[in-house]
Subunit: 216 residues, 2 copies
């Protein structure tokens, strides 16, 4: 299975690529293909030293979409609409949104778009047969990157296409100790997108780092 990561050289995207590439064929996209190639070269070296085989290819964001079966939009919310405008080829693809529309004021808070959530905004901006799923929203960049640490967290997954959601939950469950939970239709994504600002507040006010979540 080929997973394309749009924004794959960003903080979160890079960590995702490192964690996913020993399991799946990962295509790292960036606005500049060269930057993606460089990220992948470095990533392959790091994994080689750890004795781990992986599949990492750096290309442009557009090529990452074109070559992939599943696309992850690892883009900060503020760049989401602008980036999607420049890209095409999402028809029929499964698209994963880990995007959280939030702001840091005195504390972190969700600032959802008029659609109600980043996920619903993506649904509006992409072709109607793209299968959008919310996933990976609460895994901090530092956690993705700490390759020797287990990710023992719960991951709520929303989506309207049952088989795409099932597929995404399968991907989640293959990464470290992540545990996927079906969190309902895409319209319930606003609840998932509210978790990360809460976790950031908890980290800040309790002097913790990179707080994660478990459901049980």
């Amino acid at each position: 299975m080929k997973i394309g990561i749009v924004g794959g050289t960003g903080d979160i995207g890079e960590g995702m690529a490192m964690r996913l590439s020993p399991i799946f064929e990962v295509i790292v996209g960036s606005r500049e293909a060269e930057k993606a190639e460089q990220t992948c070269r470095m990533g392959l070296e790091i994994q080689k030293k750890r004795g781990i085989d992986c599949s990492l290819t750096g290309v442009s964001n557009q090529a990452a979409i074109d070559d992939a079966d599943i696309v992850i939009l690892a883009i900060p919310f503020k760049h989401l609409a602008g980036t999607l405008e420049t890209l095409h080829g999402f028809e029929g693809k499964t698209v994963i949104s880990p995007v959280n529309p939030m702001e840091k004021r005195d504390f972190f808070i969700t600032v959802p778009p008029e659609d109600g959530s980043a996920a619903l905004m993506i649904k509006r901006l992409l072709p109607s047969d793209a299968k959008i799923c919310t996933a990976f929203n609460t895994i901090a960049a530092n956690k993705w990157k700490a390759l020797d640490e287990e990710l023992a967290y719960s991951v709520p997954v929303c989506g309207d296409d049952a088989s795409a959601k099932h597929e995404v939950m399968g991907i989640v469950n293959k990464v470290s100790k992540l545990h996927a939970f079906d969190a309902g239709p895409l319209a319930a994504s606003s609840l998932v997108e509210s978790l990360t600002p809460l976790l950031l507040n908890i980290a800040r006010y309790n002097k913790m780092h990179d707080v994660g979540i478990q459901f049980h």
Copy 2:
């Protein structure tokens, strides 16, 4: 320390009273004092059979406020404003809101009031020197009532008065294995109030019961 529970004969309030009364002096309030008295008689019997001493007194909602140092508003969101209109005497008291403004449509979703959260609505409706804190939002009624089960959950607590928040976190940490986390100012409560509909969706779509949450 005297804790008054407004709505203490409701589903959640009753379970809270059972869990809190072995630790604190609990005053159960109800629209009908007689109903509160009956609930407390039954509660005392149940605890006696378990060999547990507790302090449970049933009174009217108003008397529960008047006699208590700390007041818990165990009221469903839809009755919150109407109930608060009929009550007074909150001046200077610490007031705990476990209230979640949510609706069940095809799935559960938050439907916050114009204030942004139930907590901020309570702040507007009560005297300005009442010290509102959000707490206990995600503990399901069935969990409160299952007295022989441990409550091994995280409890985010929001509030603007530092000493009241500290006091509320202390109360949370004395109940079973609950673990309080400072989740920031009262204005961050909307993030906390979004958790319960998410947990209800997860329970529903994964065929689970009374899902709880842990931060770590």
